[in-house]
């Protein structure tokens, strides 16, 4: 079964980095968003299985997106991929309902492990 994936990051390179870190044997349909507002628009209008979410972004940041997802009862697993690796930040995103925290730049093996742990592979 194909999973629906949304990648939200303000950096074009970072979005590509995630795309190419996805396990090649994972059947996915990938969409991208450049900021939190764009991501929420997608999330409100269609079912997304996995959201890969950056934190430090203009417009609406990653924490804002996590809050909205919670408030609006959107069901989707959020893997935060961020350069802000402070333990306090990692704890905060998990508290806000994120499934996992991954540090930037994301590595294919780490991503695969996390997807496996959370039952996506």
């Amino acid at each position: 079964m194909t999973s629906s994936v949304l990648i939200c990051d303000d950096s074009n390179m970072a979005r590509k980095q995630v795309v190419r870190s996805l396990p090649s044997h994972w059947p996915v349909e990938v969409q991208t968003a450049k900021n939190g507002i764009e991501a929420l628009e997608v999330l409100r209008n269609q079912a997304v299985d996995v959201l890969f979410l950056d934190l430090t972004m203009p417009e609406l940041d990653g924490l804002g997106v996590l809050q909205k997802i919670k408030e609006e009862g959107i069901t989707c697993s959020v893997f935060v991929i961020s350069a802000d690796v402070q333990p306090a930040m990692q704890a905060k995103v998990l508290e806000l309902g994120a499934t996992a925290f991954l540090r930037k730049p994301v590595e294919g093996e780490v991503l695969m492990d996390e997807l496996q742990v959370h039952g996506f592979l």
Binding site: S11, N12, A14, T56, M89, K104
Partner: protein
């Protein structure tokens, strides 16, 4: 037309390399201060060193500047300046948790700057398969035109600088510092070559 003109993809790539480096430097700062550091999207712009030293000189009464040179492979080198507002540097002892006579404000500023600069640049270098070495950090004297003189004395002739303004905002205190990377034009050309190599992979 200068070597600085980065196209959209190059700018985006550099920004992302800087984001990652900034994140790790903030993490170090947070651990060092035992607090949380709020991160903002860093700004990258090109400035002339003349306008930079003019603007810093104008505020020279209100800022303290710590400078540290760095040198990597492939002709990547420059000078990292950390600019503190005096209102911040005065309370730095409290923030760092030092007893009043333990370490001078100058030594504390140099300490903190070195942590931020080397963490930032080590992570930056790691991402581009490079490795940096550093000069000893020094606090620039705040005398008349001290900064302009210092910039002139630098071993490279640097007309333009890449100003990466990173604001490390500590939530528990009102403390901000800006990091400015001065990179000579020749080194920018080298960084561009590295960026193009990374981009070619995508």
């Amino acid at each position: 037309m200068t070597a600085f003109n980065l196209n959209e993809d190059q700018q985006d790539c550099l920004q992302e390399l800087i984001n990652v480096a900034m994140g790790q430097a903030s993490d170090q700062l947070a651990r060092y201060l035992d607090t949380f550091v709020h991160l903002r999207v860093p700004s990258i712009e090109q400035v002339s060193t003349t306008s930079l030293s003019n603007s810093l000189n104008k505020e020279q009464q209100s800022v303290a500047v710590v400078s540290q040179g760095f040198l990597g492979y492939e002709g990547i080198r420059g000078e990292a300046l950390l600019v503190y507002q005096h209102k911040d540097s005065d309370c730095i002892g409290n923030i760092l948790g030092y007893e009043p006579d333990e370490l001078s404000v100058e030594e504390q500023l140099i300490d903190l700057s070195s942590i931020l600069t080397t963490t930032f640049l080590n992570v930056f270098a790691l991402q581009i398969d490079n490795q940096m070495s550093y000069n000893a950090p020094r606090l620039l004297s705040s005398g008349q035109d001290a900064l302009a003189v210092y910039l002139q004395q630098l071993s490279f002739n640097c007309d333009m600088a890449l100003k990466v303004k990173i604001t490390y905002q500590v939530t528990d205190y009102s403390f901000n510092c800006d990091m400015i990377l001065l990179i000579p034009e020749s080194a920018i050309t080298n960084i561009k070559a590295v960026i193009d190599r990374i981009l070619a992979d995508y």
